[in-house]
Symmetry: C2
Subunit: 299 residues, 2 copies
Amino acid sequence: MSVLIVGSTALDSIKTPTAENPRLLGGSASHAAVAASFFAPVKLIGVVGEDFPKKYLQLYRKHGINLDGLQTQPGKTFHWSGEYEVNMNNRRTLLTELGVFEKFTPHLPAAHKSTPYVLLANIAPALQHHVLDQMQRPKFVVADTMDLWLNIALDDLLKLIKRLDGFVLNDSEAHQLTKEDNVFAALKKIHKLGPRYVIIKKGSHGSILSGPKGFFICPAYPLHKVVDPTGAGDSFVGGMMGYLATARGSLDANIRRAMIHGSVVASFCCEGFGLNRTTKITRANIAKRVKELEGLTRF
Amino acid sequence: MSVLIVGSTALDSIKTPTAENPRLLGGSASHAAVAASFFAPVKLIGVVGEDFPKKYLQLYRKHGINLDGLQTQPGKTFHWSGEYEVNMNNRRTLLTELGVFEKFTPHLPAAHKSTPYVLLANIAPALQHHVLDQMQRPKFVVADTMDLWLNIALDDLLKLIKRLDGFVLNDSEAHQLTKEDNVFAALKKIHKLGPRYVIIKKGSHGSILSGPKGFFICPAYPLHKVVDPTGAGDSFVGGMMGYLATARGSLDANIRRAMIHGSVVASFCCEGFGLNRTTKITRANIAKRVKELEGLTRF
């Protein structure tokens, strides 16, 4: 089965203490779509401007990503610029140019509306609602978010969370949403907002699932060096949804391995700027790290 | 086989946002010894003053802890007082009264010198050296430390690390020691200082082992509420050493499960003030959480 992914499709200019990379392919939907594409057919929903490089369209296509839902509008592509500190854990936004995203209204091609797996990657909750409104009885709907929407669109977000099967957020966002410092206490509160599955991402510390079958403690793959963590969270949830869409058996039987696969794709994402590394890996590279993670956690 | 444990034997006055508990039984050696006692015979090396409550001696004895190496000296027992913030992650020391610890010289009873497992729990590196000097060909020597010794006794500590089989420290200390933000890069550098086994503790995020057989990602047991984390790290390493001392088979075959058992004892430690909860559990309570952790990490 296939995955429909909506989110930002952007150009990212990323500065780290050692390098500067202007106008890389970025955005939550780009990272999530490429990650999911290793496992399942992906339909991308987004918008780019007339300045969007052809080579990036080719990159999507190389990954078999269906672009029927990717609009090209007059104007500039969404451009984000950020800078990481030495430890790569803290980043600050230098610039956000919304461009064509400012007036984006996602329209789903008819053939997309019955896609069974839906990932509402990080984007304004109003747009996530708008996509979900157009879907016909999806099988499994997951959304990701960011602190910005907790700050400026909390009502929209809370209404969205009610409509989800799964909600993914990071630990600081979980704290902001629930006022709970304890991850497990936060998970409990987030369930009460609606979703049966809640996943809290903890960066290099891995992630925690809370679902109908209880908790799962998902490790991060050990990396000796992080080149650029931008998009790692999107890669995680994208990989997870791609894996789920094609795995046989029940959701509960597959979700743990789906998270592990997402975690591994996220590890590759961190090893290069933007999508540089992720777009060069194979399913075999992923399988090897999944196997390693099995060895690293068994006792 | 048995474990010899040296470290601080103290009275802890612990303040949290919701409670205040004066003069609890505390200190690195107390926590480690009680944790180890669930698995192996323990010989405690330490010093207390004339004010040390009899009930605490009885508590040690209840756990079968050999007190032949526990000195009682004229003066006051080491007293530490600290306060935790709302999130229980940050604490500040309010008071440190060294008392009889100021002039402590650990003397090992003859029968203690051939103990095969040695845990040099957190205490001044000079005292850790002094104990190790008296040991006769121990089988496995592990030390823990704290930021204080990195600040004021780094030379002593570096010399000690050279003599160890295993070294345990937390992530901020690993950063301080190696200047590496990345845990796996830090582990590599710490091996170069001597020990074959290095464990970095990450609090509620679990711990990471690096040893001859590679890495092990050890989870923390999920707790919905942390009452008092004081002594959790000591409980972890104590439980681990106790488990190792009585497990059959090679060290490499046992160390992962040893860490898991340590992690579980640490989880109980966090559920009560001081040793209040740890001293009330049984081996069966520990086994149940170990089993649960197996379920929570399998994929």
